[in-house]
């Protein structure tokens, strides 16, 4: 083990750099097939199909957005029907004040649906990706910083049940990683 860890510090995981997007793509496939769960890739630009190579399933975010949208529709309809039909029937140009008032309520319903859906997208995403947070162990790594320049980075975290200090490192070397850095915090 080349990395010098002390007993007071813990190994967060390995940061591995790859030559190109294609190398990273194939490495991701192998990591996926090896059964790792707590790992991620970081690239300077979006790589098409990387989610498939990583074996990511469908995000639950869309369900949250749907729930937000439906909640928005019902909020708007309730507010308008309650205030303008049942509480204080508002007659405009002899138009009905019953179920058939609904065309007048559509613009607001539409807007609130969009608004609620947009908010649930943003806040749902923040919850899923655990933001905001003060810091992240990966910021300790010098190698990791290359991902915003020209590095194609793969990170396997030590909390993964399959993570083994030596085995995982040699596994990364095996699948074509260049430089490997152990992140210790």
């Amino acid at each position: 083990m080349s990395d010098s860890t002390t007993s007071s510090k813990e190994l967060f995981g390995y940061v591995a750099e790859f030559e190109s997007a294609a190398d990273l793509y194939h490495a991701a496939e192998k990591v996926r097939d090896a059964g790792f769960k707590k790992w991620d890739v970081h690239t300077p630009y979006p790589v098409h199909g990387i989610d498939h190579a990583m074996g990511l399933g469908k995000s639950w975010l869309s369900a949250v957005v749907l729930a937000g949208g439906v909640a928005g529709s019902f909020t708007a309809l309730f507010l308008q029907f309650f205030t303008q039909v049942s509480l204080y029937p508002t007659v405009v140009q002899n138009k009905p004040t019953n179920l058939f008032t609904i065309p007048a309520f559509f613009p607001v319903t539409f807007e609130l649906t969009i608004l609620f859906a947009a908010f649930s997208t943003l806040f749902g995403l923040l919850v899923f990706i655990q933001l905001p947070r003060w810091n992240h162990p990966l910021f300790e790594s010098e190698l990791f910083k290359k991902f915003s320049d020209d590095g194609f980075i793969l990170v396997i975290e030590s909390r993964d049940p399959r993570f083994k200090r030596d085995k995982t490192k040699s596994f990364l070397e095996e699948i074509g990683a260049g430089e490997i850095e152990a992140v210790v915090v």
């Binding site: 294609a22 199909g49 065309p103």
Partner: protein, 508 residues
């Protein structure tokens, strides 16, 4: 990345070997239905309620032609959009779009019975031809009667003004000791009277024909003010000229695009790719204007007193939505027959499904906005359209087919990704949308038939739906036959397009 497909492997394209007897069966059914339709239409019969069969069936033919024309025009739109946005996803299906678009000339040809007045369809559909003739002949007659009186009146007015001027001038000169204030008072009066009498004299001194024309125009306005206001637009020669422009822009433009694309299959010249992009950018605006005015001329003018500025985009939304549906159906049919076996993937279906979804929403947005603005403003001239369609039978029809069927059901169904990528389900949704488009166009045209032909006496002419279906089958059969024939005339996809790689390796 490994597993990438190389467009060099596909550079010879894929040829459609014909659909066996299916095309000929379609043609047979279409031709028989069309022949039967015209035989019945020209038999000069009466409907059960005693209305002219020819007039009633004019609406059936317009309905069938517009339904299929909208799909062909949608095909042209997708081609233009694909080039103009520099897209790569759909290069594989672009030839299918082009094939759909090239049906425009066929359908404009099938529209000829509507255009030629001898058939008797034209005047039944668009009352303004007859109303204009009536209004003009009334105006002519009245002008003849009142001519002498009118001219004499103009002359008298001019003479009177000249007399007044002379009197004031005399008055002024008769004043011996004139103060500056009074002089100015006279001068002002002389000035304004001079102007007035000059104008009146100029008017009165015009040749008699000009004055008679003027009178005729006034009488035209008295006879039919709404038509008088639109007299420059709703005019036979201009109307015919516009039809010519539609042929040129929609038919000619599409022909140019498709033939360039087919030429590229052989030469693989990348310059042709750029040329098509430039062509598409230049054609987009004329395309939009041509389609907008086509539906103004053919559909909005069914009731010339009504107008809606959203009409063009409303019809466009339905056209784009359903031609995407037809593209999905044609593609799936071809795949079932073994074509596009290793080229088209779920990713293509996903994109096409997404576009269909987008246009379901766009259609609803436009349709609702049109309704909403008219409903809310409540202006007499505008509400007519929706009054016809929001009462009695048509009210239930609107709610079931247009509100629920055309929007809510496909909207929810297409939200789910699984539905968009599963061929059977997306095909079912496409067919559903086409059915709703059928009801949409039916609602636009046929709801106008009874009120228009009976001057509002009845809202329904019984038993005519059979002939509507007959026309639909007739035009549909011919459409399917021509489409299948066109599929075989070139490779099924632009095989040497520089963007083919991108389309082959599409990921969402």
């Amino acid at each position: 990345m490994a597993g990438l497909k190389d467009s060099d492997d596909y550079k010879n394209g894929e040829r459609f070997k014909g659909a066996g007897n299916f095309g000929w069966i379609a043609l047979g059914v279409g031709a028989v239905a069309t022949a039967a339709f015209f035989l019945i239409a020209f038999a000069d019969g009466k409907t059960g309620d005693g209305y002219s069969m020819t007039s009633c069936m004019a609406f059936s033919w317009l309905f069938a032609v517009v339904f299929f024309l909208s799909i062909a025009v949608g095909g042209m739109f997708w081609t233009l959009l694909h080039h103009a946005t520099n897209s790569g996803w759909g290069t594989l299906v672009r030839r299918l779009m082009e094939n759909l678009g090239i049906m425009i000339p066929v359908l404009l040809f099938l529209a000829l019975p509507l255009i030629l007045p001898q058939i008797g369809f034209r005047d039944a559909l668009w009352e303004w031809f007859e109303d204009r003739a009536v209004a003009e002949s009334t105006a002519e007659k009245k002008a003849d009667e009142k001519k002498a009186e009118y001219i004499a009146d103009i002359k008298t007015k001019a003479e009177k003004a000249a007399g007044q001027l002379a009197k004031i001038e005399k008055d002024k000169s008769s004043q011996s000791n004139i103060t500056p204030g009074v002089a100015r008072f006279y001068d002002d009066q002389i000035k304004s009277l001079t102007e007035k009498s000059e104008v009146l004299a100029a008017h009165a001194n015009q040749p008699e024909e000009v004055l008679v024309d003027e009178l005729r125009d006034k009488e035209f306005k008295n006879a039919n003010a709404l038509l008088h206001a639109k007299r420059d637009f709703l005019q036979e020669e201009f109307w015919l000229l516009r039809f010519g422009i539609y042929i040129l822009v929609l038919g000619g433009g599409m022909y140019l695009l498709r033939s360039t694309s087919v030429r590229q299959d052989k030469s693989g010249d990348p310059k042709l790719f750029t040329k098509m992009q430039v062509m598409s950018c230049l054609l987009l605006l004329p395309f939009a204007v041509a389609w907008t005015f086509l539906v103004f001329d053919w559909l909005m003018a069914l009731d010339y007193s009504w107008f809606s500025t959203m009409w063009g985009v409303y019809l466009f939304a339905g056209a784009a939505l359903n031609s995407m549906g037809v593209l999905i159906l044609v593609l799936s049919g071809l795949r079932k027959a073994g074509y596009f076996a290793d080229t088209i993937t779920k990713e293509h279906y996903l994109i096409m499904g997404k576009l269909m979804h987008a246009f379901v929403i766009f259609w609803a947005y436009i349709a609702f906005s049109q309704f909403f603005l008219i409903w809310y403003a409540n202006i007499t001239e505008e509400t007519k359209f929706f009054l016809t369609r929001n009462t009695g039978f048509w009210n239930l029809y609107t709610i079931i087919f247009l509100v629920v069927g055309h929007f809510f059901i496909p909207f929810i169904a297409l939200l789910i990704r699984y539905n968009k990528t599963t061929t059977k389900i997306i095909c079912f949704i496409a067919i559903w949308n086409l059915l709703m488009h059928f009801f949409d166009i039916y609602w636009i045209i046929i709801a106008e038939r009874a009120p228009s032909l009976t001057q509002g006496a009845v809202t329904h002419i019984k038993g005519m739906w059979m002939y509507d279906l007959l026309a639909f089958v007739g035009v549909g059969g011919i459409f399917i036959f021509c489409l299948l024939k066109t599929l075989g005339t070139a490779s099924l996809f632009p095989c040497r397009d520089p963007r083919l790689d991108e389309s082959l390796n599409l990921t969402n």
